[in-house]
Symmetry: C3
Subunit: 256 residues, 3 copies
Amino acid sequence: MMIDKFNTILKELHRKSPLVHNITNYVVMNNTANALLAVGASPVMAHAIEEVEDITSISSSLVVNMGTLSPKWVEAMELAMQRAKELGKPIVFDPVGVGASKYRTETALKLTDSFTPSVIRGNASEIMALAQISNSTKGVDSTADSKNAISAAQALSAKLNNTIVISGAVDYIITNELIDKVTSGSPIMAKVTGMGCTATSIIGACIAVDSDYHNAALCAMEIMGLAANIAEKKSAGPGSFQMNFIDALHQIQTEQ
Amino acid sequence: MMIDKFNTILKELHRKSPLVHNITNYVVMNNTANALLAVGASPVMAHAIEEVEDITSISSSLVVNMGTLSPKWVEAMELAMQRAKELGKPIVFDPVGVGASKYRTETALKLTDSFTPSVIRGNASEIMALAQISNSTKGVDSTADSKNAISAAQALSAKLNNTIVISGAVDYIITNELIDKVTSGSPIMAKVTGMGCTATSIIGACIAVDSDYHNAALCAMEIMGLAANIAEKKSAGPGSFQMNFIDALHQIQTEQ
Amino acid sequence: MMIDKFNTILKELHRKSPLVHNITNYVVMNNTANALLAVGASPVMAHAIEEVEDITSISSSLVVNMGTLSPKWVEAMELAMQRAKELGKPIVFDPVGVGASKYRTETALKLTDSFTPSVIRGNASEIMALAQISNSTKGVDSTADSKNAISAAQALSAKLNNTIVISGAVDYIITNELIDKVTSGSPIMAKVTGMGCTATSIIGACIAVDSDYHNAALCAMEIMGLAANIAEKKSAGPGSFQMNFIDALHQIQTEQ
């Protein structure tokens, strides 16, 4: 049944090519745009407060990633998220590095509380910081095993009534009592910048075509894991992995 | 004769290594800098209003791309374009996503009307939106065939007395009554972010060494198409295509 | 002995995985983050004045690169550098394009004079411009041989009592009377955007684990040269070189 859902989402991505509005960080923009194109979606990157509401209005979903946040960008995120809520469009939020600075923590809590993203994806440290569970964060990389964040994610999901994704060696997709896990993937992913951000964007594509957000997030993580497994076999290191991963996403899309 | 003009431009790029000033979007900066280096030009990315006039002054051409526009950047574009006009330096303008938001449309029209870029390159939807011909835009990707934009491009070219490039499966280079087309290229280009932006930058390199802007734009699109054909044969998907495309540009430059 | 020091630094990078705070330019963020991950460091990119002091405080070193500078970013650089000085954390500074505009020159001189970076890396033109030796700069690429900048670098080093790295076909690492050179590397590096910025970031990683900054900078340039030699053999052009270079960095780290 999982295979059926997986293929249905890939077919819908191909058929609809949903416009996915990304307000994301400078580091990963190129990679996430290419990942979205490879799975069949149509990415648009726009962050000016003068236009984000217009762009969200014509898009099928909104991806908000605070990796290189600053006040103007946060203001744009708020406007876009407000518009998405008004229009009933799904939002995925990536609280990159929450816990690493007071500003990141305050911003992540404010965006989460004000706009209740449909899905939130982070590594274990980030999910624990967002749930305000004490933990040590080290910059933007996790210092904890994803398993340790399950109860934090469950508490968050119960409070927000949404879907929380903890990514790591094992990924957990959590919606209230429901827990799914994805064990595919590759250790080399931790050596490539922005693989988590790419996962968030692909969740953004999947929630654009499947209103069951838990299922959409699960399929997105399965797509990530499958592409990583394909890419790993062809790669001599993190440089070639980054390239082969995009090829693999495209291969999965075209072979569905 | 086309081959002669093509080789002359490649030789001039190699001989002069023109400095090309880019005010462009966050998504493509790395790729377009590498594409410019590969064809023999010397890219400089600078956007602060405190320095754009200085940088334009020492450059041989100016590339303005509004892919991730915001007010400060638009102000910088205006200063740089004004300086380029004063110094008689060629400008290529890429109205990314014009039509997708009121802000993009207003900005594109303002920059076009105020500074009359030497060359404008866009996809069919963008050229039609810029010519204020009714059409449906979907984010930054075209929903129309490039052929449908020919009359819009001709009207624009006649009004502005400049060169308009419509890129797509077939590219059209239009200067008043003169129409050239380029049929080389690869369908995979639509699956790689920023290939249009790369075309715009390479036009920026070519107009820096050939004052016949129609010819320069035509050669730039031929370089794009040839590199795409070379890269396509070696590529397993859009990831490897992006890499092989840069290698192919460099190969074309070194083998001219 | 060089080999020993080199391996010691690689082992320390692997063991400590130091957090390296980067305030750098838009063009190279993805590449430098991947280069830092490949050599074993943990990169964080953050530039908001609201958080840079917090991020510097939890980091082991600070990388400041002014490639796409603007006033808000310069303000953030100042705050982060001030905090790093207070906490005794090493700083590496990359004065990209100093000399190409009045704004760049003023900013580079101000940051250098106010905060005395532990290491400064630039090409020959940049080091001469920073030492206020008359020279012609062309955008962000050097117009001079690295050898011509040795006396400028020595004067700078004597004045600042720090380490100056001139990169080029031959790299010079200069601390007062001490001069080391690195002759490995590849001519193709000049055709890939941001290789100098990558060198600066890897210096940032090495000074995080070795308080002998001259030695750390020398090892960083040796790592660059060695990775370039490995990558060059596998590459068909600058596109594949960029990818193979990251793979090679990772290979050097894992095989130390």
